[in-house]
């Protein structure tokens, strides 16, 4: 009795070459996937310059003249140190509207933001333009060696009544 007849394999593709191409395909796919995932993994290590420390010493209180806004620490730490008759406070250089960096205009005695024109008094209180709230203040105190010590980890917001906190102001009288 003749066995069941199978259709003949189409010409040109043998079983061996089919398996070979299948393996090549899968290997290629796996390699591409691996390379792609490695590239994604690279994104977990972004090209950042790490921030300067959040706490820093800002010289001795005697270096600060009353009524002056000190811009020495603006570039590196993003902080203005302002000395009034009673003491020193540290203002954040981030505009409370959309986060640009305002400029201190000594002639006008105000901080003025170049992006949308918000203006702040030397105290940090907003008085013109769209900024909805005053600039934030950072924690300020004296280090053991007598230098001014600023800690950016703690913020004090005027509208929350936090400027009454003793850490937001360095009393020097």
């Amino acid at each position: 009795m003749p066995g069941p007849s199978f259709p003949e394999a189409p010409e040109g593709i043998s079983r061996r070459s089919f398996i070979t191409w299948l393996s090549v395909g899968w290997l290629g796919f796996g390699a591409a996937l691996g390379a792609g995932l490695t590239a994604v993994g690279r994104l977990f290590f972004p090209n950042v310059t790490f921030e300067p420390p959040q706490q820093f010493k800002a010289g001795f209180p005697a270096e600060y003249a009353a009524g002056k806004v000190d811009e020495r620490f603006k570039k590196k730490y993003g902080v203005w140190l302002v000395r009034n008759e009673r003491g020193i406070y540290a203002l954040s250089t981030v505009c409370t509207h959309l986060g640009c960096t305002p400029n201190w205009l000594d002639g006008e005695q105000k901080f003025k933001c170049p992006c949308h024109g918000s203006g702040f008094y030397a105290t940090g209180i907003n008085f013109e333009g769209p900024a909805p709230r005053p600039l934030e203040r950072y924690k300020i105190g004296l280090a053991e060696d007598g230098q001014v010590f600023v800690d950016k980890m703690a913020k004090f917001k005027y509208e929350m009544g936090q400027w009454n906190d003793s850490n937001s102001f360095l009393e020097l009288v």
Binding site: K75, T93, T101, N103, L105, G117, E128, P130, P132, E159
Partner: protein, 362 residues
Amino acid sequence: MSFITDFINFLCRPAILFTLSCVAFYLVLFPFREKFAKKSALYTILVSMAVFILVSMLNPTFRDVVTKADNVPIVLMLFLLAFFCWLPLNKAVKNDKLIAEGKDVENKQEAKELVFTWPDLIFSEFICAIIVWSALLIWAITIRAPLEEPANPVETPNPSKAPWYFLGLQEMLVYFDPWLAGVVFPTLIVVGLIVLPYIDVNPKGNGYYCFKERKFAITTYLFGFLILWIVLIVLGTFLRGPNWNFYGPYEVWDLHKLEALRNVNLSEYIFRYAGLNGGKLPDFWLFRELVGIVLVIGYMVAGPILLAKTVMKGFLEKMGKPRFYIMVTILLLMASLPIKMILRWTINLKYIVAIPEYFFNI
């Protein structure tokens, strides 16, 4: 000479420029529409724009602003804009006349004289592509890319300007809280444009230009585009200088220009200046901002109902309730932008509702 420049500087103050643009908008679209649709009007406008800019370039400030690498294409685009506003107006006026005479509109007459895609269309497209390509090449070779120093988070350029197509948004940000001007309004613009074909079911004007058959739709759209977008871009590009102050076109960009911009919240007007509650702001925000909240809710809720009963009664009948109320809501939100801008320019109003405790300001 200085009299003329001072006068033009004066005309370019925001409140005056805005009012003048609105008046010009009305004059062009309504009483003088047919005059403006003539070819001679287009030539007059283009030539006078060119003459104005060329003569003004004698002034060093104006020259600096206009020839700044970022601004050159914007200046050129103003000419394009004038042309592309004139072209449909010209066709619309012609068609309005034909319709009034009971004839077919221009398109239908043209449709009888068909032309072939190849070579007629493809050939003119090819010529256009070559012209655009060479213009881009010349632009790329002659005007240097306006690159600045590497970005630095603690040093913001002064003035700091968005790309030209966002300057309208940046101008809006001066008058509104970021979440409104930066998030809600742009979303509404997009949503409003998407919704347009569903609210505007007037079949007239399909496939041809006309004005008289869709006065309201065309006027509203053009007001939003020309006045609330283009005028704001022009303001932001040419008239905003250091510290985001306004400078007239011939005014020197003085870094120390002092402008009194003491902005006042509505609650401060009510309590501090009118002396309610002994001149003291109430501590609790709800009492403090009650008037503002009532005003805003009244505007958005009572506004549509009032309009439906009075001026826009006909629209309600024609469109049906759902369409009408969606349209009126979007219309009122759009109108809130010029309203707030005018309040800022006239009475220095900062926020109608100001609740910084919850980052909520309107």
